[in-house]
């Protein structure tokens, strides 16, 4: 009695229990697993390395470790000294199918002070029907509330009305500049190498900075530290193989994962001579090793390289790819202070050229950064978790170098000069439980960005022409000639209504100092990044969001409603007919203004049981006001699509049979259409509406897939394998990729004889010939990419 009172008053001595939470099967750290005291529900969640630290008054506790998809683990502990406790949790696997498990899901989404954040596990993503069987993180992300896709056949995504370059895409903390393969049909994230992905849409924590709208934090697997294992698959367009295992059991492990597409193997079958001699493939290679020196020190090295190669015999070639390298050292000071030092290098480049002949040339472009990061988490007590750290990054931009081959005498070498910048960020934040029903997460990030010589800065007049006689200013090597700085407050508040529901609010300010010169919605690999400079101010966003979170049926159903409002200053856009490629005066093409987006997101998710999935609906707008575009009138952003519905369902019909389906509906993308036409010099030229003044037809699509596990019932076999049949666009909806308005071509003028036979009726030809041969005729032409596409994939695991 006396002790209890003492404890309640807080005079009792506090002790810390800390350690790691791992998957018993492979030793992977369980990111975000929670540990809490059953009686008071005070607890913490594991960080991205699976480390946790919980400080409680001395006493006896029943600690619950829980994680979605894993059996909860309960530990009785007597906390009378600091304790190190590493736990391993077991997955809710088929071993337990006999026992009826309602799945004690956690109420993490209600409890956590963070909002506007979604974690997607690779296991969930694998169940979503995939285009051509290629399981893809970025396509899965596009099914979440608040995330718009970049149109048919694109992995580009747009979060809460932000542009695609406003997403910070990280792979083991390294920037990924262009996450697309095959011009955007697939992403660079190989399913077998990825552990999970976390998307922050708002309330972005202070440890992240540099992009306005979202953070997509993708984490690679660490490698199985228990046993040697492998996984792979053979699909229609690519095959994959992953090997992982311990180097020293429970101490060191590795993973290596590769994927290569072989669409080009079919090219020789083509009747087209040009295609026969063409090359077209991409590959990814992920590798990671980690070494646990002791309980307090661990080292991770991870690397990624991937490339697309496209070549048309000797006439043309195009290649692009990312490379990242991350080295990390975790160190735990005592049992409350977790530190991590990271060194990062990442680069993206592309090459476009003609390999042979009199016009042979290479055109290359590259961007790279080298970065040092140091992050600390101080688990002060069960009510305060303090994070602080810094990051310093040196960027090198090489927008374009044109190198003619020796055989090419027509052109000289031409280079758009390299530019350099130094970006810094430092932050501190605290997640604090205020007692009672309130929790807050408050933080501040300081960011700066400096342009560093050697540089040539063009001086523009108010018409964006270079000033005659003072066209540019040259800066010597190493000179810091321009610096932008910004303070970025971050705030999150949670008010618990009851153990099933909470209200949350958040605010964040973000600064962005690097911008992608792109005015199409597709993520073209030849887009170039450009730094802020005296000519281009940093983009800045302020976002507020409010949310209501409620779980039902013992946390089986998670639901949430969030509303947000985001205001962007200095939103980058481009003048009409801007020339973005190979333009030394690129900065003169930029027009900056304001962007406003707001919306409401509704989300229902079920993560446990035989039927899992989610329904997401977003109602949103994204509007731009740029004084020098569209005569100063506001216009819809390219990705402004007010209605966005996604339904994702997965059903374990039988032990070995899973069926899943998705349905998506989006309002049509805004498009600029002609409102008239005129004739000039024999050419019919359109007269256009306001920018983005009309909409394409709505986009909707249903996908379906079935996975059949070939493993015999209930046996825990060494080797497991499965077939997956996916059908993309099951009702073959013709979704517009682009709508083009043009003079109709005289397409039936020289109808081949066989086609006349096929078409049969003379009437058809007679009726249409005149219409199509009329040079004055104009029409709307819709291009669509994917009709119904079935695919089959064989996957294995051992």
């Amino acid at each position: 009695m006396f002790l209890a009172t003492f404890s309640a008053l807080g005079y009792a001595q506090n002790f810390t229990i800390s350690g790691s939470i791992q998957d018993a099967a492979n030793g992977e750290g369980l990111i975000g697993a929670t540990v809490y005291d059953k009686a008071t529900t005070s607890g913490v969640s594991a960080n991205i390395y699976g480390f946790y630290s919980l400080t409680l008054p001395a006493g006896t506790y029943e600690l619950v470790y829980s994680f979605v998809g894993f059996r909860p683990l309960v530990k009785q502990i007597v906390l009378d000294k600091n304790i190190r406790m590493d736990v391993e949790m077991e997955a809710n696997s088929e071993v337990l199918q006999e026992v009826v498990i309602t799945g004690e899901a956690t109420n993490q989404n209600v409890e956590s002070v963070e909002m506007s954040v979604v974690n997607v596990k690779m296991e969930t993503i694998k169940k979503i029907p995939a285009l051509l069987g290629e399981v893809d993180v970025l396509r899965a992300i596009q099914l979440l509330p608040g995330v718009q896709n970049g149109g048919e056949g694109s992995t580009g995504f747009f979060v809460r009305g932000g542009a695609s370059d406003q997403n910070l895409i990280l792979l083991d903390e390294a920037f990924v500049y262009n996450a697309s393969h095959l011009l955007g049909f697939f992403s660079v994230f190989n399913q077998d190498a990825i552990k999970d992905a976390q998307l922050y849409k708002g309330g972005i924590p202070a440890e992240y900075g540099g992009r306005l709208s979202s953070v997509l934090d993708v984490r690679m697997k660490d490698g199985n530290s228990k046993k040697f294992a492998g996984a792979g698959g053979i699909g229609i367009i690519s095959s994959r193989l992953t090997l992982e295992g311990p180097i020293i059991k429970d101490k060191a492990s590795f993973i290596i994962s590769g994927r290569r597409s072989y669409a080009d193997l079919f090219l020789p079958l083509s009747g087209n001579e040009g295609l026969k001699q063409s090359q077209l493939f991409f590959y990814d290679l992920n590798g990671k090793v980690n070494l646990k020196l002791n309980d307090n020190n661990r080292i991770y090295l991870s690397a990624y390289t991937g490339r697309d190669i496209l070549g048309v015999s000797n006439a043309f070639r195009l290649g692009w790819g990312n490379r990242t390298f991350t080295g990390r050292w975790n160190h735990i000071f005592g049992d409350k202070l977790f530190s991590n030092v990271t060194g990062i290098y990442s680069t993206f480049d592309y090459l476009l050229g003609i390999p042979e002949g009199a016009s042979a040339f290479d055109w290359t472009s590259k961007i790279q950064n080298i970065s040092l990061k140091n992050d600390y988490t101080y688990y002060a007590n069960s009510n305060n978790t303090i994070k602080f750290g810094f990051q310093s990054t040196f960027h090198t931009f090489s927008p374009a170098t044109f190198t003619p081959a020796d055989s090419n005498e027509a052109f000289n070498e031409f280079k758009i000069f390299d530019r350099y910048a130094w970006e810094n960020g430092a932050y501190v934040s605290n997640e604090q439980k205020l007692g009672g029903r309130w929790s807050v997460l408050y933080g501040l990030r300081f960011s700066s960005f400096s342009n560093v010589g050697t540089d040539t800065l063009f001086n523009f007049d108010q018409n964006y022409d270079t000033i005659p006689g003072n066209g540019y200013t040259a800066y010597p090597s190493g000179e810091i000639y321009n610096t932008y700085m910004g303070l970025e407050p971050r705030l999150g508040v949670k008010f618990t209504l009851d153990d099933q529901s909470s209200l949350k609010a958040s605010y964040n300010r973000m600064n962005q100092y690097m911008h992608l010169a792109s005015n199409s919605t597709s993520a073209a690999p030849i887009d170039v990044w450009m730094p802020s400079s005296p000519n281009i101010k940093p983009q800045r966003a302020d976002q507020v969001a409010l949310g209501y979170f409620r779980n039902f049926a013992k946390n089986t159903f998670e639901t949430s409603v969030e509303v947000y409002y985001k205001a962007v200053q200095n939103q980058i856009d481009f003048r009409d007919f801007a020339q973005l490629i190979f333009n030394p005066l690129l900065e003169g093409e930029v027009r900056a203004g304001a962007a406003t987006s707001y919306g409401a997101e509704f989300f229902v998710r079920k993560q446990t049981g035989d039927v899992t999935g989610w329904i997401s609906y977003t109602l949103s707008r994204s509007i731009r006001d740029v004084p020098e575009i569209n005569n100063g009138n506001s216009y819809a952003a390219n990705y402004d699509r007010p209605h966005n519905l996604s339904v994702v369902l997965s059903w374990d019909i039988m032990e070995r049979l899973n069926a899943s389906g998705t349905f998506v509906y989006n309002s049509g993308a805004p498009v600029t259409v002609p409102t008239g036409r005129f004739n000039y010099s024999g050419t019919t030229v359109p007269v256009y509406s306001d920018r983005n003044g009309a909409r394409m037809p709505a986009y909707h699509r249903g996908d379906f897939s079935i996975t059949y596990d070939l493993r015999k019932k209930r046996e825990k076999q060494f080797f497991s394998h499965s077939w997956n049949l996916s059908i993309f666009n099951i009702y073959s909806r013709k979704n517009p990729y682009a709508i083009n308005f043009a003079a109709s071509e005289a397409k039936y003028e020289v109808l081949p004889a066989y086609e006349q036979l096929v078409r049969g009726s003379n009437a058809f030809i007679d009726n249409t010939l005149d219409a199509y041969n009329n040079p004055n005729r104009t029409e709307a032409q819709m291009t669509y990419l994917f009709p119904i596409i079935p695919s089959i994939t064989y996957n294995f695991k051992f």
Binding site: A315, G357, D576, R677, N679, Y688, N740, A780, M782
Partner: protein, 276 residues
């Protein structure tokens, strides 16, 4: 880039399809469209005035008859009269001759509205000689194309813009706009008469016969006119790529909401024959 996307799609054993659809367009009010020029030649200079139409209108553009059209150099005003047989086409007296360096103002008055455009006549390259030669293209194909090559002294100093047309046996071959050649002097500034300029290099081999008469015409134009052509092409012949930027209205040098372009051009012309 378009080719690249098609290549990828074919390789994925897919085809992207294009089909004509019904797409309702909001038809705006019509606008006055002006096209024409004054040159340094002594002739009847021509201005054509039409109206814009709804986008799906599939006839010749409606002519604007009964407008008052004048061209002035500040000191003299030339009145253009409508050609009886060609409604909407207005011509000066055949004695009018533009001068280099002169600033010309076009005035079109119609339906109580006046539309004005201004352009200055710049110098052009005096063509010294023109050749038509067949050239085998070894890069992409093995086909042979006719090239039209000109020689002449380019005016030193950047900022010159040119447009080229050619005539086959007296018939203009370079309409619509995409058929024309146009260029800036960035790479040829001050080029001497010994350096040939391959003006046209993609004329199919079967377009000409030995003995045909070819006449090449070069015009000086303003940078604004050059942009106008590029923008018109970006909206028409060059459009439809997968990575197009958003379309936008082409610029114009005519005020009061009219569209089109009035230009003052110096012209040089040279004739040759097809020998090979």
């Amino acid at each position: 880039m378009k080719t690249a996307v098609y290549l990828i799609l074919s390789a994925l054993l897919l085809t992207s399809c294009t089909e004509v659809i019904d797409f309702d367009l909001n038809d705006s009010q019509t606008r006055i469209v002006i096209e024409g020029e004054i040159t340094n030649e002594q002739k009847a200079h021509e201005i054509r005035v039409t109206e814009s139409t709804s986008y799906y209108y599939s006839e010749e553009p409606p002519a604007v008859s009964g407008a008052t059209v004048t061209i002035s150099d500040g000191a003299n005003t030339f009145v253009l009269t409508e050609v009886d047989t060609l409604p909407g086409v207005y011509r000066t007296e055949p004695t009018v001759e533009g001068k280099l360096g002169e600033r010309y103002t076009l005035n079109v008055t119609y339906d109580n509205q006046t539309y004005t455009a201004v352009d200055t006549m710049r110098g052009v390259v005096d063509m010294e000689s023109v050749f038509v030669v067949p050239v085998e293209d070894t890069l992409f194909t093995t086909d042979t194309f006719y090239w039209i090559i000109m020689f002449g002294q380019e005016n030193p100093g950047l900022g010159d813009h040119y447009v080229w047309d050619y005539y086959l046996n007296g018939v203009l071959q370079t309409e619509p706009l995409v058929e024309k050649a146009f260029g800036r002097d960035d790479f040829v500034d001050g080029a001497s008469p010994s350096e040939g300029w391959p003006v046209f290099n993609n004329i199919p081999y079967d377009a000409f016969e030995v003995g045909d008469s070819i006449s090449l015409e070069i015009r000086s134009v303003s940078g604004e006119y050059f942009d106008f052509i590029i923008e018109s092409l970006l909206n028409t012949a060059f459009r439809g790529g997968f990575f197009d930027g958003p379309p936008a209205n082409v610029s114009s040098n005519i005020d009061n909401g009219a569209i089109g372009f009035f230009r003052a051009s110096a012209v040089s012309r040279k004739k040759t024959r097809v020998f090979f």
